[in-house]
């Protein structure tokens, strides 16, 4: 089919770089080759493309001795290369996880750590100040009051009544004593005489 294809210059020119690079399909290579043989101008363009390539000829780069062994050793030791925060490494399961990339901006990290420590210290200090500023309770504690059962209260009352009755039987008490204060009548009389004599 390509024997019947004829290219014009406008069609041939864009194909020249691909032809020189070896990227042109067989179906187009033959027609282009025929055109280049017949067209001086397009042949000049092809020659210039080939001339350009000679500027890119280069000797193979020498590789330092032991480079591969060195790199493999560092890789298996966990070195992930330059700091690349955007791409976190994900090693395979049986390989030890490489060390985390150290952030390049050490100053910023240092400031952040200091700020965090200062924040914690301030928080602890604030708690301590608040605690010591609260008013004391004078040692009083509501839970010191011993709650006694009803039986205990009745028993105490009975004991007090028995004590009072025993004192009355022993005469140690004045029946005329003021029932409110228990003050003996004689004592009350002496106090009244003292008050009249003034």
């Amino acid at each position: 089919m390509d024997d019947h294809v004829t290219l014009r210059c406008a069609e041939a020119r864009p194909l020249v770089p691909l032809f020189v690079d070896g990227e042109l399909s067989g179906a187009l290579s033959a027609p282009l080759r025929r055109h280049l043989m017949a067209c001086t101008a397009c042949r000049a363009v092809a020659a210039e493309e080939k001339a350009l390539k000679r500027w890119f000829a280069r000797e193979p780069e020498p590789v330092p001795a032991g480079f591969a062994a060195r790199v493999a050793r560092r890789a298996f030791a966990g070195d992930t290369g330059s700091r690349d925060a955007a791409s976190a490494p994900e090693p395979a399961a049986p390989v030890p996880a490489p060390a985390e990339a150290v952030p390049e901006d050490g100053v910023l990290q240092f400031v952040l750590r200091i700020t965090a420590v200062a924040a914690v210290l301030l928080f602890v200090l604030a708690i301590g100040i608040r605690t010591t500023s609260l008013p004391g309770d004078g040692g009083l504690r509501a839970d010191d009051a011993q709650e006694r059962s009803l039986d205990e209260v009745l028993e105490e009352l009975k004991r007090l009544n028995r004590t009072a009755a025993d004192e009355a039987d022993a005469g140690t008490t004045d029946p005329a004593a003021d029932p409110r204060t228990g003050r003996p009548a004689a004592e009350r009389e002496r106090a009244a005489q003292g008050a009249r004599g003034r």
């Binding site: 770089p17 691909l18 690079d21 990227e23 101008a41 000049a44 363009v45 210039e48 493309e49 080939k50 001339a51 350009l52 390539k53 000679r54 500027w55 890119f56 000829a57 280069r58 000797e59 193979p60 780069e61 020498p62 590789v63 330092p64 480079f67 591969a68 062994a69 060195r70 790199v71 493999a72 050793r73 560092r74 890789a75 298996f76 070195d79 992930t80 290369g81 330059s82 690349d84 791409s87 490494p89 994900e90 090693p91 395979a92 049986p94 390989v95 490489p98 390049e104």
Partner: protein, 198 residues
Amino acid sequence: MEQPAMEDADLVRATLEGCQESFQTLVERYQSRMFSLVRGYTRSAVEVEDIVQDTFLKAYSRLASFQHQSSFSTWLYRIGVNTVLDFLKRRGRSPVQAVEDPELVGGTEPSGPGGSRFCAPDADLERREIARVTQEVLEHLPEIFRTVLVLREFEGLPYQEIADTLGISIGTVESRLFRARAKFRDKLLALHPEFGEG
């Protein structure tokens, strides 16, 4: 009897199972290409070694995420290109960025008959001098042009592999190569008019 070389997929599998020698073999297999790739971006031998080492360390750390949807070499080239560009940005030496997306702006037509013609390097010009001039011109190119030129002209990658590495279409590869070569020619003649004729 010599053992046949292991396929990349087998070496990857063995590496993930903890075999350091398998990873070393992978490095040995691709170290020359990586050195050649990075050499297209910097002249410093120390930087080239650092960047290539970083590339392999990153590849190891992400090996578990390699899905075999592309070839291992394509995957590695992708990491290499990203690593070298990141490295240069961190060192404050960002590759020349195009002010406008060159794919939105009209492309540069190659010199035709009557214009300044482009010459191949003189046969007497030493390869070292050719390499120096080429590197000098590349440093003046926008990054997206330099990258496609390096991958095509230095690494000899086919268009499809360039497309897979950079995550672009083959049509975009063709377009960028067309413009990259035109810019390379123009910049070379601007810096070294002695390499033009007429």
